[in-house]
Symmetry: C2
Subunit: 183 residues, 2 copies
Amino acid sequence: MATPESLLLLEDDELLARQTRRALARHGCDTHWAADLDGARRLLHRLPALDAAVLDQNLGADNGLDLIAPLLQRFPDCRVIVLTGYGSIAAAVAATRRGAHNYLTKPAGVSDILEALERDPADLDSLPEAPPSLQRLEWEHIQRVLDAHQGNISQAARALGIHRRTLQRRLKKRPSPAHFQRD
Amino acid sequence: MATPESLLLLEDDELLARQTRRALARHGCDTHWAADLDGARRLLHRLPALDAAVLDQNLGADNGLDLIAPLLQRFPDCRVIVLTGYGSIAAAVAATRRGAHNYLTKPAGVSDILEALERDPADLDSLPEAPPSLQRLEWEHIQRVLDAHQGNISQAARALGIHRRTLQRRLKKRPSPAHFQRD
DNA sequence: AGTCCGCTGCGACAAAACGCCGCACCAACC
DNA sequence: GGTTGGTGCGGCGTTTTGTCGCAGCGGACT
């Protein structure tokens, strides 16, 4: 599959959605955006065709996974990938069993998204299976939790079970928001 | 699905396989064991029926995922779950897309296995989605990497990117290999 | 035999990180 | 007004880590 022509973006965060949409547009995608499940469902009925969909799993009260079934019912060949703040393996399995094509954790750039759409995840036996370093693991997890709490350091620290002061210090240590690349 | 009657266990480690087999037997499972892909394939042809399969993903050179397709071809209703040392989300997606019912990371007790077999992972919207504490995350990752290196502390420490001395100390702190429960 | 190599366990000490206090500031809300 | 909650930062005592070193042990090679 080349870059899709028609794409549905279901994303909570309006800013992120705009950015992503613009970036996708640069790749030639006609991106339709919805911020919640209802909006997405309505959008579904209006669209004449759909090649791909990018669903945020965490939408306040809603769960992006619930869009997969109706979406695939209307567009059986649509490739669906699910995005989430902190992805657990259980959540990845759930998404995939519901028909998702792939499952990504934020922060995911447009290149990540496009690659996830094009590649068949079941194809590669050459899965990384490389042990991520402890520091990387921690850092990514921190980023995910922080993202899940909209950047609220105090809440994230509580969720992580560490002191707020410690989180602050750790965040300042790595000012490089350089996107950690895949291994 | 109640506890399966006929079960296929594909597991590298002979000791672990014996243990698991015995434990499954106590639950009334007729467990057939294979240590590699070829053995499992041969076993497949001999078995008259199969309710469930537990596949270790990491089998030396082989990859347990490659058994899923032939297995499901012969027993389409068989429930397959995949076990792995350290599971990545990518690996979980790959397994699920190939038809696995669920995906677990070691160490997984028999109760975990049976629960994973019975439950439909796609059913639960009530996925944990609870942020695991940093300590838990680290500890589990350490355990996985350690397991992947057959308990070799020096190698594991290198893989984790921490000092061997530190790993030693951490391991001694938590001597309880008590099963960490799911959140 | 003997030597090399790698893993293990542990003691010791400096350096770094952490937990925990405090404070000042700001925003929102009653 | 007051109260509540988040943020950023300084300091200080405690804990953890990094990095040495050393003795022991098993295997493997000549």
